[in-house]
Symmetry: D2
């Protein structure tokens, strides 16, 4: 069970994450260790060739991992990113971006999340991201309900 609700994270976003708010990012689904976030399409995101700008994708991925981490530790404001690695795979066509996020490591001090990003309705991965968050000392970390399966 998630340690933070969608409503709690949305409220935190309005008060404290102006970047996510300015770009209209929405948290659409949340469970213990997973989150889905959306960037509604906007002309402001465009780069030459009609493609969506990289920083918007990086910001969306970062937001998805943030939500997924909070789903495991509850509302802990000073949880911060320490590393983010993004591979841009295909230029996104115009459309909403969806970032599917899952936590792949949850320790006492660090959490690592993985993000697969798509344009809604398309099957091609537009970006793949891993990001590490530092968990403040004293946080209560609840286990992920469905750990990843070896061998798939």
């Amino acid at each position: 069970m998630s340690q933070a609700t969608i409503a709690q994270i949305q409220s935190l976003t309005r008060e404290q994450l102006p970047f996510a708010l300015a770009y209209g990012f929405r948290l659409e689904a949340l469970d213990s260790g997973t989150a889905t976030v959306r960037a509604p399409y906007s002309n402001e995101f465009l780069r030459p060739g009609g493609t969506i700008s990289g920083p918007v994708m990086m910001g969306l991925a970062d937001y998805g991992v943030y939500a997924a981490v909070l789903s495991c530790i509850g509302i802990v404001e000073l949880t911060v990113t320490t590393n983010l690695n993004i591979n841009f795979l295909h230029r996104p066509e115009p459309g909403d971006l969806l970032a599917y996020t899952r936590i792949i490591k949850l320790g006492k001090r660090l959490a690592v999340g993985e993000v697969e990003m798509f344009v809604e309705g398309k099957d091609e991965l537009v970006a793949h991201v891993t990001a590490t968050y530092s968990i403040p000392p004293g946080s209560v970390v609840s286990p992920i309900s469905k750990p990843h399966q070896a061998g798939r």
Copy 2:
């Protein structure tokens, strides 16, 4: 269908990849865009605390992506890594390492692979890797048979 066979890649390994050979890496499964490689357990891999050393895990992941790229382009010797990013997630207990690899982008000039690494028989991810290979000009790139699905 894979553009290279397991036997072809094993032969290439013996002749030209002394690192993989020295560590006994084995290519266990191969399909168009996916590969599974194994590092048999050896005392030589150990670090303090009985854990397997990082470079062995990095080498295994690199080998898995190499095989998965060749499954798409055939035997092209000068295919080289341009970037590798690894997150070490849990210290591996003693045991064989298995690296499940899939190609997440296959372009004319670059291929990107993703690796999930486990100790055989355990469910925890010990490492997650993304790696980019540069594809030599003139290579014939065949499509991946089963592209990744949005939304999972």
Copy 3:
């Protein structure tokens, strides 16, 4: 000598990089293979604790590498990022951000840039970034005037 002028890149920014424009990024210095870009301080960038949000830092680094790549190849619009890795090192205090960028590899198909980011007037690195750009086929790549020195 740079293959693109500051004025040319600023003009390109106004027309085609709405993200950089919206955040007021400024290209302050440009030479063959190096660029310095600035993010003027704004309340909009803040996260909880008065720190600047990660996506702004990622966007600034990406912009710095873009300018440094164009200094080597001239105005080539379809030059795009393929990979970006950022380590967030210290929470920035309020102030302008400065990103010092240099190209560490310039090939026919790929360029790699490195960024060191500071708050103006402070000595602590707030972030370190490497980013790879794909260079469109047919681009004319001019050599970097002052290559990096081994041993320093």
Copy 4:
């Protein structure tokens, strides 16, 4: 002043880092927050085309950052890598590899190092690496003597 001596780290290498030992890595210089390590040239490292294999370069970089971290915290065996990102920039010609390492962030829980790798006597960067180490709780972290300068 370094919290660990070259002799101490060499002794630790012999006892506990079989990978570094097997490849003959040598710690050549050490100061508070910096280290230089060498991989003597060996035919065993070769890949097709006479180039040095990637895992050897990754292992050397990891070893350099390990030494540089220990220079700041002393001999703490359970210091482990959490993330490593490498960009392969130019294929190394035959020759010894030298990895110049510096710590760019030293916190209570995490240290980040940067590595520039050259073939001895050549000016081209063959690889650039950043790596993060987790510092065990209770370690005494001494400050770096010469912090990096903004603006260079």
